[in-house]
Symmetry: C2
Subunit: 410 residues, 2 copies
């Protein structure tokens, strides 16, 4: 008697629908503000980095061969020649049996190929130094071009800029840097029973949570949220808000409409938008099955379940990859590195859908355990107690206690 | 002949020095912008959430007992009474053998204790519905106060606000929300050989990377970076910059000074600041040993090695917990959940210090491997190729290929 009242689209197919759209345009940003942005151009080394061979230690620049076989009991005696100062090109070269004092970061004199640490030497007088260690060529130096050779790719278009990428961009003078603009994501909360955060809910009403959870998720994944407030379940109002949001943003999230009536309203409204098509009528995930994906005038519009936790799971599962795609990430569908843990209880799951179970991570005796968070899936408190979720696949009936599971942090 | 030229402070002791200082003050922020901020007050539920028992499905509100034993072959016949509309308090109650149509999110009528999904019913006529499933009390509803009961703690002071915490704060009307202000972190780059990012480095010079990597790290961990530019290795200039930064910010990072000469300069300068003391002269980690921690007028000042990669490791190891402490995080010294991987090569390490080795994560046959990144530790390219670092402990001489290691993402 269970009616299959909407046809679901497999998750892989949803992700396929996402790719192939346009990404947002690029813009220059000050490198100081580039953390978390996505590089919109390939960056090629226009010089060797470092541009000269430099010492990584305080010591003496030498030809390694001059120290071969040297030890505490059998030191090599080297003749001091010149001295290296910071930010100066030495005007001398190093020959066999010669050594020049050099500070960390100093430029290596010509023909020197290594630096012996000051701790492995003893100064005899102004002209001679004893070396107690046999050096290898390249030791305690960074060679010209050892970090990046001129003409090679430093960073590829589509790379998320972490602090280290910002450092490399600085080394090559990329300030401002060309990044993708942050996608603006419209957020529409719907529901006749929902009131704004600053109102006291009358009997039968609750405050709007989705505007805030979805805005937080959009920010977390590099977008700029733009709220369109709470829209009553009326076709004209919803149409107007959707049309406006489509014009002003790069993608729209409508949350609410979990009842059949409001769901139908959302679908009708989205179908009425100019040049629109409904791409997805449901996704085989739980929670989150009644998810809608439409496209209007080449922009994605998501109909996301109204339950706050379902909305978060749907965001993480399908909206996040879509946002990553829009903002130019080169591998938007790649999952993060798997965090493994041991399940502390059996969990059951229905076949034919992917179930997401909230878990808390607990560490005992150097082992990480995933404790399923008890409580109905509609409760925001379960997401607060959770560190992550685990996926129980389409063809699994559940997972046994003791199973090693992969945790997706939330 | 190896000279122990500075005395190191064990890592635990460095972390102990950090706690006990004042955290930054609180400020109200719009909840829409609270993602990633730290809650500065305990939040107590001033009402039940949800404030009324609600349905999580489209169906019929019933007393579960009215359906006990019902099945496809043996349906229960229920009399329809009233109908629930969204955002309205039903003006009727449900008795034995009665059912009221209710939409998802609707308020339960008095005495109803569960909702039977519409898919498990068949409407006979306007007055009678067949129910094909035996319900349990509480099924398909969220009870009044089931998420949070009035008077209980919703969120504790010191909690990092993720999207779900923003949702819970919205539910209780906390807009604006009291959070800790973002600590402002001063960044001073030093070195006679360093030029600003927008200059072409003359022979013997390189562009400043640390300002950008450190700013990125400060942003990543919830602070606001404030750059004081590149300061030459001269006592008066460095003193002036430090004094200004201490007055204007909550904590100061000075990078550079890895040679003995510039290191001594940094220590002298920090010692000369008003009410200052040098707390740490070195940390037994590699890279990153020559790290200095000073306090002046109750503010922390870090002397961080100039090598860009060492600076990043030092930040992640000791500066990040300090920043987390300042910004009010309740457990600043807790490490993130461990990401485990199998080491693909032997790595060696010196005893008596914690070694950080960069690794790339590679996934083969559902196993995650950590491949040590080759290349000298001073190279920024190694941090770009790395997904994380692994720690080789004080008392280990290395790790063997095949060992399960814990990866700290970078």
């Amino acid at each position: 008697m269970i009616k299959d009242f909407f046809k679901v689209t497999p998750l892989e197919d949803v992700l396929k629908l996402i790719s192939g759209t346009d990404r947002v345009e690029m813009e220059p940003v000050d490198l100081f503000c580039a953390q978390g942005r996505v590089l919109a151009v390939d960056v090629i080394a226009d010089m060797d980095l470092p541009p000269f061979s430099r010492s990584t230690m305080d010591g003496y620049a030498v030809k390694a061969a001059s120290t071969f076989g040297a030890s505490e009991s059998n030191p090599a005696y080297l003749t001091i020649k010149g001295a290296v100062s910071m930010a100066e090109k030495p005007d001398f070269s190093i020959g066999s049996g010669e050594a020049a004092p050099i500070p960390t970061g100093g430029m290596l004199p010509e023909n020197a190929d290594s630096v012996i640490m000051i701790e492995h030497t003893d100064s005899i007088d102004d002209e001679t130094v004893e070396a107690f260690k046999s050096m290898a060529p390249g030791q305690n130096i960074i060679e010209k071009g050892e970090d990046f050779r001129k003409g090679t790719v430093v960073l590829e278009k589509g790379t998320l800029i972490r602090p280290q990428e910002a450092g490399a961009l600085a080394a090559f003078g990329h300030n401002p840097v060309q990044v993708y603009r942050k996608p603006v994501i419209g957020i529409i909360s719907t529901g006749d029973e929902v009131v704004p955060v600053n109102e006291i809910p009358p009997c039968g009403y609750i405050r709007d949570m989705n505007t805030f959870t979805l805005s937080g998720l959009v920010k977390k994944y590099g977008g700029t949220p733009k709220s369109y407030g709470i829209i009553r379940d009326q076709r004209e109002l919803l149409f107007e808000a959707c049309e406006k949001a489509c014009q002003e943003t790069d993608m729209v999230l409508i949350s609410g409409g979990s009842s059949v009536g409001t769901r139908d309203l959302t679908i009708e409204t989205l179908s009425a938008l100019k040049n629109s098509s409904i791409l997805v009528h449901g996704i085989p995930i739980s929670p989150g099955k009644p998810t809608i994906l439409a496209k209007a005038e080449n922009k994605f519009i998501w109909g996301i379940p109204g339950h706050v936790t379902s909305a978060m799971i749907v965001f993480n599962t399908v909206v996040r990859p879509c946002l990553d795609y829009l903002r130019g990430i080169s591998n938007p569908f790649q999952k993060g590195p798997p965090l493994k843990a041991i399940l502390t209880r059996n969990i059951s799951s229905a076949q034919g859908r992917i179930d997401y179970t909230r878990v808390k991570l607990v560490r005992r005796d150097n082992i990480t355990y995933a404790e399923p968070v008890l409580g109905k899936s509609g409760l925001i408190s379960t997401m607060i107690r959770a560190d992550g979720v685990i996926e129980v696949g389409m063809n699994e009936e559940g997972l046994l206690q003791g199973t090693e599971v992969q945790v997706i942090l939330v």
